[in-house]
Structures are given as structure tokens and as C-alpha cells.
């Protein structure tokens, strides 16, 4: 089963678009072997999407107080995400809740790697900030490389 890369966020709200932008870059990179999709961050939709995959990589904007554009790489199977992880969530209920919802139902994928990109702002209609745009490219490159290595080393 192909790995799933899911970019979470809203491209109409400034740096909340980090996830979909990174996913789009990855999709356009020509990488094969992985399914790439975007999602607004509805936990129900996230859990439904990743139940069908063994390995999932999620990219979302986040706010931790770090420098904008800082990239966090988290193993969501091993540890819960920081509370409220995810920048702008539906009904105040985002990626961190989705992970715990799946954990409670024992339907987390075997691999769930979360990339968090520290956002600078979420103004309606604003483009990505420069540091976040740079981080999106770096995250897309890193995911592409990881997937390539994983697919190359996958037993026949």
C-alpha cells in the first residue's frame, strides 16, 4: 500500500497554507509511489483518510513561539502531539485531536510522521511568509528523499 502524504491547512489564510503548499511541491516533483492529498484539517476527515494507509506523513503549520519557518519532525505514533498542534483548526479541534482520536480507536497507521512548520501569520488572503515558503520547499525535499530511500530499500 502506498504511503500517504497529507498537507493540512487553508491556502487562503497566509501561513496556514504551509501544509497544502508543501504537498503541492511534492506532487509536482514527479515523485511516484506515494499518494499526495490536501485537507482543511477536519479531524474526522484526517482519521478517515489515514485509516487506509500503513504509513502517513502529515504536514501542518504550527505555532510554538519558535522562529517562523522552523521545522519540527514528530513521531505521532510514539508520542501525542503537543496539545492544540496545528495552526488554524476546525472548531478548535485539529491534528493533535485527530491523532488521539485514532489512537483511542486503535487505528493509527504504523507510521505517522508529522512535520510542523512554524507560522508567522494567518491573515485572510495573505501569501505564505518568506521563511515559511522556504521551509515548505525544504520539507517537500526531505519527504521526497525519505520516500525515495524507503521505496528503494523496500523488499521486492
Amino acid at each position: 500500500m502506498r504511503p500517504l502524504v497529507i498537507g493540512i491547512g487553508n491556502t487562503d489564510r497566509g501561513d496556514d497554507g504551509a501544509g497544502p503548499v508543501a504537498a503541492g511541491l511534492l506532487e509536482r516533483s514527479g515523485l511516484t509511489g506515494a499518494l499526495v492529498m490536501t485537507c482543511r484539517g477536519d479531524p474526522a476527515d484526517l482519521v478517515t483518510a489515514w485509516q487506509e494507509h500503513v504509513a502517513v506523513i502529515a504536514v501542518d503549520a504550527c505555532v510554538s513561539g519558535a522562529e517562523p519557518g522552523t521545522v519540527f519532525r514528530l513521531d505521532a505514533v510514539r508520542d501525542p502531539l503537543p496539545e492544540g498542534f496545528g495552526a488554524v483548526s476546525t472548531h478548535g479541534f485539529g491534528l493533535a485531536a485527530a491523532v488521539e482520536l485514532a489512537r483511542a480507536m486503535k487505528c493509527l497507521p504504523s507510521v505517522l510522521t508529522v512535520y510542523g512548520i512554524e507560522a508567522a501569520g494567518f491573515d485572510a488572503g495573505a501569501p505564505l511568509s518568506a521563511p515559511v515558503a522556504t521551509a515548505c520547499r525544504a520539507v517537500a525535499d526531505e519527504i521526497a528523499q525519505d520516500l525515495q530511500e524507503a521505496l528503494c530499500t523496500k523488499p521486492a
Binding site: D12, R40, A44, D45, H91, A97, E100, L101
Partner: protein, 435 residues
């Protein structure tokens, strides 16, 4: 006289940003103020000067939960402005699309946001620990709703296939046929969910609401009908602004709606639709509602959870009916030529009546736009509910009362983002020194 203030700075499990402040003096609620402070997004101004055909795609961006509702009110208002009525097959396809939105929006609210209140749990994660199969079932129902939207609308969020005059492309027969098994499953699952919800413990509270909803000659209303009320109002959408007005309240970036005749509050949404259209529900849905303990009218706002699930049951059945009868409309749209004039329309968003009015020119440009979302219309009613709930529960501790207030607001599934937007609650019991 004892006075107290209770403050809740953040209301969870609602869409958007707001706050609530309540001041209590003795056994009297002195002041209830629902603050909505999310900045407005000026969609109505943004629409001016745009081509009238852009309205469905622009207004869909108002809400990630109910974009179909915005699209439906927009396209119908534009078609009304241009004197165009769609043939039945296109109307049916729009109704199928709306079923998808009702299902996904109602299931999201009922299980993910509202149900924890009735189980004494903090969130759906806690429900999932106790009853994983129930939550899995809810996720699958929601997915079925999303699948309708994707099949008809082109994608799940902010559909792209809706146009003034119909659709850009009619789904193939097999694309709609592919939905049928899951819709049949969903109808059974919704019936089971309604039975489950009937066993929850609902606070004993009722109010004499003035219900306002669409009423259609033959069907449970979604895209069409006259605007009627439980107090005898019966008007076309064109007369909406003669009977309903919006006022700006200083505490809110959302407008408050009321009836012009007497300034009274009114209620839109599932309770209103249900009360004014119970006879339009199929007999088996009526029977399921009665088996769940509902009468033909429900005035207990907490039981809106039950009514939403009745509507989910209905929407699955209706979607299945439409899917089974589906043949791709040919053509997928009719020509709509712009003409000087204005058009009004109201449809039934999951949260209630959604009114749009546009003035357009013969050059196809939008001159004026007015959008009245359901949460704006319900704001005075939310405050009236809170006043009644607090007065009936003054013996509660501040924490318990604070929670009950949040639960009361969540009855409305308020889309503060639409109304424009987060909630901080302050309860003020003056004199008692309570925090």
C-alpha cells in the same frame, strides 16, 4: 442582593472566535452578551464588481463546513435575478449535493462536538475510548456525506462544479451509482445513531421559539420554498428584508437579526425546519423520530442533537432515492444571460435559513450583495436561551453553570466564522465574589 460574575474565556467545539459575558444579580440575570470579535471578512464588498457567475465560487469560501449552502443560495439568487428556473433533473442534482452537506455537517456536530456534552466527557476522543465502534460509524457516515459532495461538486471542500445555471459537468451515471451501497448503509447507520442518541440524558428546558424556516409544497426543504414561521408568516424570499432586519450590536462583529414588526428574536435551523415541516418527512423518518421520543415539534434546544440525526436519516434516504433515479442531466447547465435587476433566494443550510440578495447589471457585474447567515439570525435566540437556562439553574456552581452555558451555545452548532467569528464566556454573579 447577591451578585456574581462567571467568566469563560474560551468556548471550545464551535467554529470561530467569540466570548460570552453574563452578569447575575440575585435570582435575576442582568446581562447576557455574546461577543463575536473575529474580524469580518467583507465578502459582500468583495463581491461587488465581480462577474455574477463568480458568486458561487467566491461565497463557497465563506465557510469550510457549509460551502454548498453558500453556493446554493448564490446560484438560485442569480438565476432569480435573470428570470431562469432550472429543469427538474438539475434541481434534483443540487438537492443530492445538499444532502451530502447536511450529512457531513450534522454528523460532525452531533458526534464530534455535541455528544460529549451529554456524556460528561471532554471530547470525542473520550467517547472513542469508551465506544470506538460508535465513533467509527460516525466517521463512516461523514465520509459518505463527503463522497456525495465530491461526486457532484467535484471535491469535498469548496466544491468547484457548481455554476449559475446548473453544473459545469454532470456526474456520470456510474459515479452516482457508486454511492448507492454506502448511502443504504448510511441510512441504517443513521437510524441506529438516532436510537443511541435517544438514550442520552437531555437537560429539561424548553422555550417558546418563533420558528422560521423554508416550507416547500411537496418536500422537506433544502433549496426552495416559502419562508414561513410558527406565528403565521408566509412570504417569498423577495419579501425577506421587509420582515427581517439586521442591527449592529457593539459587542459583536456579526449582525443580529430580528423581526421588524416587533423586534422579536426568532430561531432558524434544525428545530425550526423540523417543527414547520414534520409532515414533509417520509413516514418512516417520522416514525423513527417518534421512536426517539420526539413529537412533531421539539422546543428543547438540547434535543437539537436528536433532530439533527433525524435530518441525517432523512438526508441519507433522500440521497439514496435521488441516486437511484439519477440520469445525467443533458445539458449539464442552462444558459443564464445577465440582465439588470436583483434576485433574492433562501436555502436551508445545515444551521438554518441562509438568505442571499444580489443586484447585477446587464454587463454581468455584481452591483450589490447581501448575505444573512443562520448564526447571525440565531444570535438573539442564543442569548435568550442562555438567559433562560441561567435563571433556571442559579443553584448550580459556577463551573457547572459555565459548562451548561457552553453546552447551550453548542446546541446551535454556531458557525461564528460564517457570522463572522470564538467564544470567551464571562459569568458575572455580582456580590458573591465568585470568579
Amino acid at each position: 442582593m447577591t451578585k456574581r460574575t462567571i467568566k469563560v474565556d474560551y468556548l471550545a467545539r464551535v467554529e470561530g472566535e467569540g466570548a460570552l459575558h453574563v452578569r447575575i444579580a440575585g435570582d435575576r440575570v442582568e446581562h447576557v452578551e455574546l461577543n463575536i470579535f473575529e474580524p469580518p471578512r467583507y465578502f459582500e464588498a468583495l463581491l461587488r464588481g465581480r462577474d455574477f457567475r463568480e458568486a458561487p465560487d467566491i461565497t463557497a469560501r465563506i465557510c469550510g463546513i457549509c460551502p454548498v449552502a453558500y453556493q446554493m443560495s448564490a446560484v438560485h439568487a442569480m438565476e432569480a435575478a435573470c428570470g431562469v428556473t432550472l429543469p427538474t433533473p438539475l434541481q434534483d442534482l443540487r438537492r443530492l449535493l445538499y444532502c451530502g452537506e447536511w450529512i457531513q455537517s450534522h454528523v460532525l456536530h452531533a458526534f464530534m462536538l455535541h455528544a460529549p456534552d451529554f456524556l460528561g466527557l471532554a471530547s470525542v476522543v473520550e467517547i472513542a475510548k469508551r465506544e470506538p465502534a460508535l465513533v467509527q460509524q460516525a466517521l463512516r457516515m461523514k465520509k459518505a456525506g463527503n463522497a456525495i459532495i465530491a461526486a457532484v461538486g467535484g471535491r469535498e471542500v469548496h466544491p468547484i462544479n457548481v455554476k449559475v445555471g446548473g453544473f459545469y459537468r454532470a456526474p456520470r451515471r456510474d459515479e452516482i451509482a457508486g454511492l448507492r451501497d454506502e448511502l443504504a448503509w448510511g441510512r441504517d447507520a443513521a437510524a441506529a445513531a438516532l436510537q443511541w442518541a435517544a438514550g442520552l440524558d437531555y437537560p429539561d428546558f424548553e422555550r417558546d421559539y418563533q420558528f422560521v424556516a423554508l416550507r416547500h409544497a411537496a418536500e422537506y426543504p433544502m433549496n426552495a420554498g416559502r419562508i414561513v414561521s410558527s406565528r403565521g408568516l408566509d412570504i417569498g424570499a423577495a419579501a425577506y428584508e421587509q420582515h427581517f432586519a439586521e442591527t449592529h450590536e457593539p459587542q459583536s462583529t456579526a449582525l443580529h437579526s430580528h423581526l421588524i414588526a416587533d423586534g422579536s428574536a426568532y430561531l432558524v435551523g434544525p428545530l425550526a425546519r423540523y417543527a414547520l415541516n414534520f409532515d414533509r418527512l417520509p413516514a418512516e423518518v417520522q416514525a423513527a423520530a417518534k421512536a426517539a421520543g420526539l413529537g412533531a415539534v421539539c422546543r428543547n434546544p438540547y434535543q437539537s442533537l436528536l433532530v439533527r440525526l433525524v435530518e441525517v436519516l432523512f438526508a441519507f434516504g433522500e440521497a439514496l432515492r435521488l441516486a437511484e433515479a439519477y440520469a445525467p442531466p443533458e445539458p449539464a447547465s442552462v444558459e443564464v444571460a445577465p440582465q439588470d435587476g436583483s434576485g433574492c433566494w433562501a436555502t436551508e443550510a445545515p444551521r438554518g435559513l441562509l438568505y442571499h440578495r444580489y443586484a447585477i447589471g446587464g454587463d454581468s457585474l455584481i452591483r450589490q450583495a447581501k448575505i444573512v447567515p443562520p448564526t447571525s439570525q440565531n444570535q438573539p435566540s442564543i442569548e435568550a436561551d442562555l438567559r433562560g437556562v441561567i435563571e433556571a439553574n442559579l443553584d448550580m456552581t459556577d463551573d457547572t453553570l459555565r459548562h451548561r452555558c457552553e453546552q447551550t451555545i453548542r446546541n446551535y452548532d454556531p458557525c461564528i466564522s460564517c457570522a463572522t467569528h470564538f467564544l470567551t464566556l464571562t459569568l458575572d454573579r455580582q456580590g458573591e465574589g465568585a470568579a
